[in-house]
């Protein structure tokens, strides 16, 4: 028993050390760290979706729209209103949350297929509205030359410094989500997922908890979007359409819906596989993604994180 927990501690420590050491290992190849940064941003957004779908049982096919709102709000505030970047990111998160509230309030009366279609429509129309506001958002040309991430007087210029910053944000987001799920509200959210009727019979306010989950997920996506804007320095409405929403959904499925670690695994898989395969066989990765989704639904309902758990039990960690 004690030996197993020490071993687990050792493994976790090794993983943490690996995460911290990676930028030094790839010092000569900053592009790899760049990909990892993108993967972490996706993992943050996917964690929101995972909270919504895996724990809340609510389908969303428009999650990318919240990223778009967070990203555009933050970027426009910084570029045209010259707001402090930290405040702009907060505003992006709040904007996405507010939009989630406005959208969630009517659409959470729907369930299942209806909710899927309503969020799908919402997602594709946000991209369209952004395209129709060229004076604010750059319209079809996209928003270019977004300033790079800056905290206080300290600019996070290199990929490595962004990497450490994102690791910190990722850990915070994941801890917040995990603690939320283990709290009283989190139990209520899971109860609503498993059976609405039972939950409401136990005195859980089903509608309120659905809305809270939706807004929470939207805020997380908004955070991811705001950070994305200052990392990539370029936003285009087409990047946040239905396709990207489905990509986020795929990441959470492949990683494992309803697991805390799933979004990281899914996002890493999604970002790194095309890098490994290389650009010449670009679309082979799409094929593999499709197969992995089918495979994880059929054989590994908890996706890659189930694989990790199985390895853990096999090695008695």
């Amino acid at each position: 028993m004690t030996s197993s927990s020490t071993r687990r501690l050792a493994v976790n420590g090794a993983i943490a050390a690996l995460v911290l050491v990676l930028p030094l290992v790839f010092r000569t190849k900053p592009s790899i760290i760049g990909y990892l940064n993108i993967a972490m941003l996706y993992a943050i957004a996917t964690q929101g979706l995972n909270l919504l779908m895996g724990f809340g049982g609510l389908v969303s096919l428009g999650h990318a729209a919240f990223m778009a709102i967070g990203g555009y709000t933050a970027a426009v505030l910084v570029m045209t209103c010259h707001v402090n970047m930290f405040l702009a990111i907060v505003a992006g998160v709040a904007g996405a949350g507010l939009f989630g509230l406005v959208i969630g309030f009517p659409s959470l009366r729907l369930s299942g297929f209806y909710l899927a279609i309503a969020t799908m429509a919402m997602g594709s129309s946000v991209a369209d509205v952004i395209k129709r506001l060229p004076r604010i958002t750059g319209g079809d040309y996209g928003l270019i030359n977004i300033p790079s991430l800056r905290l206080g007087g300290w600019e996070l210029a290199g990929e490595a410094s962004k990497y450490y910053f994102f690791v910190a944000i990722l850990v915070v987001v994941f801890l917040v989500v995990r603690n939320f799920l283990n709290s009283r509200s989190g139990r209520a959210v899971r109860a609503v997922r498993d059976s609405e009727m039972t939950a409401s019979a136990m005195g859980v306010n089903v509608a309120a908890y659905k809305l809270v989950t939706f807004v929470f997920a939207a805020c997380i996506a908004g955070l991811s979007g705001a950070l994305y804007a200052f990392t990539i320095s370029y936003l285009h409405p087409m990047n946040f359409g239905l396709t990207f929403s489905i990509e986020l959904l795929s990441m959470s499925i492949i990683g494992g819906l309803g697991t805390i670690i799933g979004p990281i695994l899914g996002a890493l898989f999604w970002v790194m596989l095309p890098v490994i395969i290389g650009s010449r066989m670009e679309f082979l990765s799409t094929v593999i993604f499709g197969l992995s989704i089918i495979g994880s639904v059929m054989f590994l309902p908890k996706g890659l994180s189930e694989l990790v758990t199985r390895i853990q039990t096999r090695l008695r960690l």
Partner: protein, 292 residues
């Protein structure tokens, strides 16, 4: 807007709507009976259209034969999907079933892009020739074929659902799957049949609409979104509703695009939101919502 333009826009909208109706009818048929929302409907058709393209341009197979083969290919895809994917996970949550079809859609898109490259290709129309004039209305020949095909498909589906034993079985499953099994209806084979018919419609619809666009791995994406709008409008549990909803969406979309080009793309959101908020059962749906 003069009356001539109005008539032309309406008729052209009807032909676009006929395609939404074809895709939508397939989705509703599968949704109603097997309770799976098939997000792969469009991309199944897209992949089959690629195969048809190479049969026509490279192998010089006659068009009519290709059309039949495409429908058959769709049916085979549907059979395989139901038998080897859906059946083993049927007991799981509906979310997993939706995800399976999303994965399938991604698989088809990836395969098409990987095998056939992404550059757009021009697909020859089924019938060529000058457009036909009916009074003030000018209508392309392909458009007439699309309309006729949609009407014929609707007729066949109606006959299947209401005049055959299997159709009655499919309808009874959609009412109560458990009771249907108790009464001795062979649900697995009915599921397979319904998937075959639904996916065959995907092949037909994609082949009929592709000459208006160009053939590329993503060309069915928007059409599928419109088809979803159509079935929401039609009420989700009625094949008739999907057909009428598709036609309405096609016509109104065309008129809106002419009069208010700025909201052309957001228009479907407005429709979906209004329909879902004001009358979630749609135009022709039954009031009671099905299990999910």
């Amino acid at each position: 807007m003069s009356i001539d333009i109005f008539l032309n826009l309406t008729v052209r909208g009807l032909t676009t709507g006929a395609v939404y109706a074809l895709v939508g009818m397939g989705i509703v048929l599968i949704l109603q009976t097997t309770n799976v929302m098939n997000f792969a409907q469009g991309d199944t058709g897209m992949f089959i259209t690629y195969l048809a393209f190479f049969m026509i341009t490279t192998a010089k197979v006659p068009y009519s034969l290709v059309l039949i083969l495409a429908i058959a290919a769709g049916a085979v895809v549907g059979l395989l999907v139901e038998r080897f994917m859906m059946r083993s996970v049927r007991s799981r949550s509906h979310l997993s079933l939706i995800m399976l079809t999303l994965g399938l859609s991604l698989l088809f898109q990836g395969l098409a892009a990987f095998l056939f490259k992404t550059e757009p290709r021009l697909f020859p129309p089924l019938v060529s020739g000058d457009p036909i004039k009916l009074g003030p209305i000018i209508l392309g020949r392909q458009d007439i074929v699309v309309l006729l095909a949609a009407i014929a498909t609707f007729g066949i589906l109606y006959l299947f659902l209401y005049r055959t034993k299997q159709g009655a079985a499919a309808r009874s499953i959609s009412q109560d799957e458990y009771a249907a099994r108790v009464l001795g209806i062979p649900t697995p084979s009915i599921y397979m049949l319904v998937w075959a018919i639904g996916s065959a419609l995907a092949g037909l619809a994609a082949l009929l609409i592709v000459p208006r666009f160009s053939l590329e791995p993503s060309f069915m994406g928007l059409i599928q979104v419109k088809a979803f709008t159509a079935i929401v409008l039609g009420g989700m549990n009625s094949v008739f509703g999907a057909a009428v909803g598709g036609l309405i969406i096609g016509v109104v979309e065309n008129l809106v695009a002419y009069q208010f080009p700025a909201i052309k793309d957001s228009f479907m959101l407005i429709v979906i939101v209004i329909v879902l908020l004001v009358m979630p059962q749609g135009l022709f749906g039954k009031r009671q919502q099905r299990r999910f």
